[in-house]
Amino acid sequence: MTARKITYRDAVREAMREALLADHRVFLMGEDVGRYGGAYACSKGFLEEFGEARIRDTPLSESGFVGAGIGAALGGMRPIIEIMTVNFSLLALDQIVNTAATLRHMSGGQFSVPVVIRMATGAGRQLAAQHSHSLECWYAHVPGIKVIAPATVGDARGMLKTALADPNPVIIFEHATLYNETGELAEMDDYAVDIDRARVRRTGSDISLITYGGSLSKTLAAAELLERDGIGCEVVDLRTLRPLDDAVLVQSVRKTHKAIVVDEGWRSGSLAAEVSARMAEQAFFDLDGPIARVCSAEVPVPYARHLEQAATPQVENIVAAAQKVMRR
Amino acid sequence: MTEPEIENLVRRELYAVAPDLEGLEIEPNETFRDQFEIDSMDTLNFIIGLSKATGLDIPEADYPQLETFSGCKSYISKRLRAPG
């Protein structure tokens, strides 16, 4: 099987292009997706290829255009709604939480809302407090939607197809620092991957390191360093944040008896807290110590680079947490 | 049995109950208990060993004579010389 090097951005673009070519109901809408080619260049060349009807630049009104996308989905289309970042999605929270997530339930199953909403998320590029949020956990809290976080080029390439096939709203979080990352993508006929399973990215028997999205690469790097110290880490990529794949988590903790959750959200009320609670519920008697969390500091994300780094989970934080958990 | 043979026998039985004593200097007139913290169980096993090795039946009343190395030597040599 051959593989090729591809950037995360190009994987996203390829996935969207494949979807646009395969199904005439699919269209892309969002700020700067057309003429500009996408704020993160994920739709470069699309306007020329697919035209204005299918690549729609929207006004600067998240509530408005997300609502319009939901309406289009209700009408039988398959929109990919691009919200530039999770920070701006707050303006569309009512549409997502009160309309997209509830219409199937409130209509007694008569209406379905097959939207896919893509958002960039996370910190690390000195965009300061209002533009550096990791609010995946807020969306993962809401019944009626699915929330996924592709962290590898394989998932960036393959999750979109599965998401578009889902008759319910799916929110895809793409960590902004991943777009430029390059990875190996195995050539295949069908790149579609599941969106309901976590994946073990690295096996080990001393500690389970559980993470998602932009923190995966840092966690894997930490695992490398810890290996040299004789600590074998099992790295679990959650992939799907709602629903969480409990089975993989519990299986890992049953093996290692120790767990650390790495989450770029703030600690309090984080996704890491939910993951910890599930492990405590389902694997309490297998734990050899308290579950640790490596999360962002409880401050608005700073602008200055050294402060932003200090406020968010880094490789050395993960390594230190692991050594503490191993009681060294 | 010659004196050196008796000495070796006593040593052998002592080391059988307390292998860590091998190589250590044995004070002939100090009790084993005081020198080496041999307790009553060890003492009994030691005496059983002596009894088997010499073929002598050693009554309990005679135990006090076996508390030191020189005591063991003279007791065994006396008993082996005596008839019966």
Partner: protein
Amino acid sequence: MPSLGADMDAGTLVEWLKSPGDKVRRGDIIAVVETQKGAIEIEVFDDGVLSEIRVKPGDEVPVGQVLALIDGADEDSEPPPAETATKAAGLPSRPMDQEPLRTVSQPTADGPKISPAARRLAQSCGLDPGSITPGKDGVIGLREVEAAAHHADTTQPAGIDQRAMRNAIASAMARSNREIPHYYVTSTLDVTPMMEWLGAYNARQPIERRLLYLVPLLRAAALSLRKFDDLNGAFVDGRYQTTANVNIGVAIAMRKGGLITPAILDTASHDLQSLMSKLSDLVRRTRQGGLKSSELSMGTVTLTNLGEQTADALLPIIYPPQVFIIGCGQIQVRPWVIDDAVVPRQLMDVTVAGDHRVSDGRRGAQFLRNFGDLLARPEEL
């Protein structure tokens, strides 16, 4: 004085239309008050008798001030509404006063922290968590339990880690001192009958079948303990549980220092000869290795014998989770009184220590009485 408008602060009483002693009914006009809005009639809302008028005509009275008192006709027979409502609903009248529930077992603040996985492993190995040495950070994790299990099951000759044993003893003794309130009871026992009997018995036996005096002590202790539920068992998680079998742990000194107390399981079921073999075997395996974890973890009570040429008495320390320990001093010929005469007898001081959460000195004394009685009739042991 009622408020007859949002901007009214006070009103002037113009005239009273009723006098003290008059019966009044709800809706009756009782007085006239002058306000900025003109003269207003004040009506009553209660039935009763006008008992006292407090303001005179011409007085300016602020809103809220009492103008007059009316005695209600059926005031006294009406109970306070709050009580009736709760009584009618069958609710407890003062629920907030109830003592907050107390958990039966108080968590011991100083106990070692043991992880769930470690606790489970210890249980499956038959190890008492209290006997496991915690790590440097005070935590018992899988690592510590595995180390303890390894020691318990070792069959390597002379493979005992002195430091680990010393740590284990230290940990157990410190815990005992911390958690167990000890009481001590001492008795001097005349063991002359036992020693004379033993001498005669041993004289009849080939050397391999002779008994040490510890053996009748163990048998007497085991038989006695069967009658004392509160001295034979384990105190775990704030609760005492008596054990059906008496498994006496015998304190065996290691020659290089250190103490192990492996148990003779179901001590009372062995006769003297069988006890001697078991004891001999235990000592050998203690010294050379090969003790079983059940022997180390299933002791229900301990007997420690100082032995010959040692000291008269000791104050023993209970090995948690046990609740009782018997400490025997050396046997010495000392003066004693029998039938008003002072006679030399072989005497042994026995001190027992008990867990005061489970038993008290009286029980310890009863045990000693019983123990002594059995030893006084050695032929029946």
